[in-house]
């Protein structure tokens, strides 16, 4: 108890210095919480952008389709696959699709496109096509409906209701087929690549005109718990993966995003390391100043029988108290700021990262580990930084220190 009192009072001998050092330590903690919160927020937006925009959290495809997009690579026994998905309780929704490259032409212009045949109703549970429609209507199932992106509409110089002709090769006979559509909606996802190239029509119509009745290229999945999609050992993936088909989560479908997330983790670690280094120097400096001011006291303490180890313990105890005070302050401010930015966001403007449009505000995401692990790191760091000054104090020679007192 006396050691605690001694350490506590020593800490507040020079209140201004203690507050400044504490601010330095707590600022590191606050910045770390916010940076990590922002990284989590950004990752979440990116993953959400990928999984919820169109790709889904997982997909079932024919093996090989992901690499060459050959239209012949249709899912083996799609009816059986769908029935297995339908009974799986972890799946929130699924979207069967056919995907074919073709030409789309208006009265004025022609362009290449990637044509998605989608089930309008099922797709609502998997992707945001419906939300992306900015003019006209989302698909209703009417055979001649077609949705195109805004830049494509501008290129083709078409408006709602105008005629569009899709030209593509049929899958079954590899013959050229043409079909007339009426522009029913214009969408805008954000990423230009998507808005310039994608076209959505109804699944039945697509299967019919491309000669692939009952066949599918892709089934996009969405899970009740999004974490399921990250698990390559998920029973559903195992169940749907066989000699012909493969079921994969978004981390396997988009390995570049997985790498990017890993990089953001490294970024946080680098920021943390730099902060910790700077904080360590501040702590070392502050502790040394405190020790130099009390050098004669350490001399007296040693003279009356305090062992070097007891001196080290005292200095480390002071550092521990400093760390705890700083963490209490840092956690409070970190939580308040993190909470504020998680509701109000930080204005970032528009930017596209890995094909995902980050539009407007970036919101922090708070997690329990930020408030448990980070303070532990900060406390350990402060203690580690205090070891050198503590060792110095323990080596003070009493006779030299006592001369300073005179």
């Amino acid at each position: 108890m006396l050691t605690f009192k001694l350490a506590f009072r020593n800490l507040f001998r020079n209140t201004r210095r203690t507050i400044l050092t504490s601010l330095l330590i707590s600022s590191s903690l606050i910045v770390l919480i916010l940076v990590d919160g922002l990284m989590l927020g950004m990752t979440s937006v990116m993953v959400g952008g990928i999984t919820h925009t169109l790709e889904g959290e997982a997909q079932v495809v024919r093996k090989g389709f992901r690499n060459n997009s050959e239209v012949e690579y249709t899912i083996d026994d799609p009816a059986s696959v769908i029935s297995q998905i339908q009974v799986n309780k972890s799946v929130e929704g699924f979207g069967p699709r056919v995907i074919i490259g073709g030409m789309i032409a208006s009265s004025y212009n022609t362009t290449g496109s990637l044509i998605y045949g989608v089930d309008a109703k099922q797709e609502l549970k998997v992707s945001r096509i419906s939300d992306a429609v900015i003019e006209g209507e989302y698909l209703s199932g009417e055979p001649r409906e077609i949705l195109i992106g805004k830049p494509m509409a501008e290129l083709l110089e078409v408006e709602l209701g105008d005629r569009l002709i899709i030209t593509a090769a049929t899958v079954d006979a590899n013959e050229i087929t043409q079909e007339l559509f009426r522009l029913s909606g214009i969408f805008e996802f954000g990423p230009e690549e998507m808005d310039k190239n994608l076209v959505f029509i109804n699944l039945d119509k697509a299967q019919s005109i491309f000669g692939m009745e009952g066949n599918l290229h892709q089934i996009a999945l969405r899970f009740i718990d999004p974490e399921d999609s990250k698990n390559p050992e998920l029973p559903l993936f195992k169940q749907l993966t066989n000699k012909e088909n493969e079921a994969l989560g978004w981390l396997d479908l988009q390995p570049s995003i997985g790498t990017m997330i890993e990089m953001t983790n490294y970024s946080t670690a680098i920021v943390g390391t730099i902060l910790f280094l700077l904080t360590s120097l501040g702590v070392i400096n502050s502790m040394f100043m405190s020790i130099y001011e009390r050098i004669y006291e350490f001399g007296v303490a040693k003279a009356i029988g305090t062992t070097p180890w007891q001196i080290i313990q005292l200095v480390l105890f002071e550092a521990l108290l400093l760390a705890l005070l700083s963490c209490a302050f840092g956690l409070t401010i970190g939580y308040l700021l993190g909470d504020y930015f998680s509701s109000n966001g930080i204005p970032m403007g528009k930017m596209e990262v890995s094909g995902v449009l980050l539009d407007g505000n970036l919101y922090t995401r708070l997690a329990l580990y930020q408030f448990v692990n980070f303070p532990i790191y900060v406390t350990l760091l402060t203690l580690a930084a205090a070891i050198y000054p503590a060792t110095f104090a323990s080596r003070i020679v009493p006779t030299e220190a006592l001369q300073r007192a005179l």
Binding site: L2, K5, G299, A303, I304, G305, T307, P398, T399
Partner: protein, 228 residues
């Protein structure tokens, strides 16, 4: 009476070869239990150095110091710390109390190092404060005590561990005459009542008058050793 302290051929020099200063030059003395000894001599004669060497705060260049039969040169750093804590009490000219601790806590601190239980500590702190006539001032920090009161706390602190020897380096140098005499009376009483050994380094005639033995140092050598 038994020999409590024995120094044999004690030498201490400071500085490098060119600037070498001999503080002690083959000092051999015996101090017996219960003596009230004053080491006197002009400034630079080696009084404080001798006290520091006897207290194990410094290491000699030659010779030996034996305390209660133990040669302090044979002790490790921690053993020496423990020895000082349990057998030696220090009183310094500048009081050297810990400023953030109250008078009571300053006295208690050394007992905490000894591992004395809380109840026993409280009891002894009370006794010590009464002994140095500071009852009612135990909760004051050093900055709220006069020089004399601070030195009394320092005496109480030195006594708190029940040491065999008290080493006092110019304890009255910063005190006025009246306070100095009062403090000396306290220490003389302790010496007589508890047979505690006191060794002073001093210029103060009041101490010399009360000392039972005077050791004169000059240029690091014992010039005279008188018992009264």
């Amino acid at each position: 009476m038994t020999n409590l302290i024995e120094t044999r051929g004690l030498c201490r020099t400071f500085g490098s070869e060119e600037t070498k200063v001999t503080a002690l030059d083959h000092v051999s003395i015996n101090i017996e239990e219960g003596e009230f000894t004053a080491i006197i001599g002009p400034s630079g004669s080696g009084k404080t150095t001798l006290l520091h060497l006897i207290g194990g705060l410094d290491e000699p260049n030659g010779g030996s110091v034996t305390l209660s039969g133990s040669n302090i040169a044979d002790m490790s750093g921690n053993q020496l710390s423990d020895f000082r804590r349990d057998h030696i009490g220090f009183i310094f000219q500048a009081y050297n109390l810990i400023p953030v601790l109250s008078a009571e806590e300053n006295i208690e601190y050394i007992m905490l190092l000894q591992g004395v239980g809380a109840a026993e500590r409280r009891k002894r702190v009370k006794e010590m404060l009464a002994m140095v006539e500071l009852e009612g001032l135990g909760d004051r920090r050093p900055s709220h005590l006069s020089g004399g009161q601070q030195q009394r706390v320092a005496v109480a602190r030195a006594m708190a561990s029940n040491p065999d020897i008290i080493l006092a380096d110019e304890p009255t140098a910063n005190l006025d005459s009246k306070t100095g005499i009062s403090l000396l009376e306290v220490m003389r009483d302790l010496n007589q009542q508890r047979n505690m050994t006191f060794i002073f380094s001093t210029h103060d005639e009041k101490i010399m008058e009360r000392a039972t033995r005077l050791i004169y140092l000059r240029d690091g050598k014992v010039e005279r050793d008188e018992r009264k």
